[in-house]
Symmetry: C2
């Protein structure tokens, strides 16, 4: 028997976080919403007003999905009228950073093909 | 008209690089191959010997896909017998780093659910 042969186990893939990438990238508006939040536009009404083609219904589906993943959180302020704002969670910041890295990589791919 | 309203365009997603994540994470052996290369195991024969359950046929499909994406490169050395080795490209290193980040995120998801 060759002593130099080490047995490597199969390395399992980060399937859940990869599925997040897949779902969020497949979602037409998530990246736009992150951009809005980055620009301090946090209320659903404001968001719809600030993006052409974005409807309240579609935005709500998008926000709900991001909350389920733990990327965004919803905060309600006890005011009259009640104020609802969205924020990126700590976990979400890490996730969005990965998407930014993917974007840079995408730019490299596009560059090469041009 | 409200002067404060800025129109944000829809932000397009890094679809190609996200598709790479999807494909590579879906591929049963890519992460194992990166691990082998990281441990300086670069020749297909060595790879098969060092991993339980990995066949030459499956390994070749995996290597080919990674070359197509530009993650790995194949180097042939003019020796007798000819030597073939695989290496991670500069682009590939960036991609693998993103996968590492996804793994950390995955660990956080798993932790929360435990």
């Amino acid at each position: 028997m060759n002593n130099k042969t080490i047995k490597f186990p199969r390395k399992s893939a980060p399937e859940k976080s990869a599925r997040m990438v897949e779902t969020i990238v497949g979602c037409k508006w998530s990246l736009t919403v992150y951009n809005l939040l980055h620009n301090d536009i946090r209320r659903p009404g404001e968001m719809v007003r600030n993006v052409e083609g974005l409807t309240t219904k579609v935005l709500n589906t998008c926000l709900k999905r991001n909350i389920e993943f733990g990327i965004l959180e919803r905060k309600t302020y006890n005011e009259i009228p009640p104020r609802v704002e969205y924020r990126v969670t700590k976990f979400g910041h890490k996730f969005i950073q990965i998407l930014d890295e993917l974007e840079k990589l995408q730019a490299e791919i596009d560059c090469e093909k041009a």
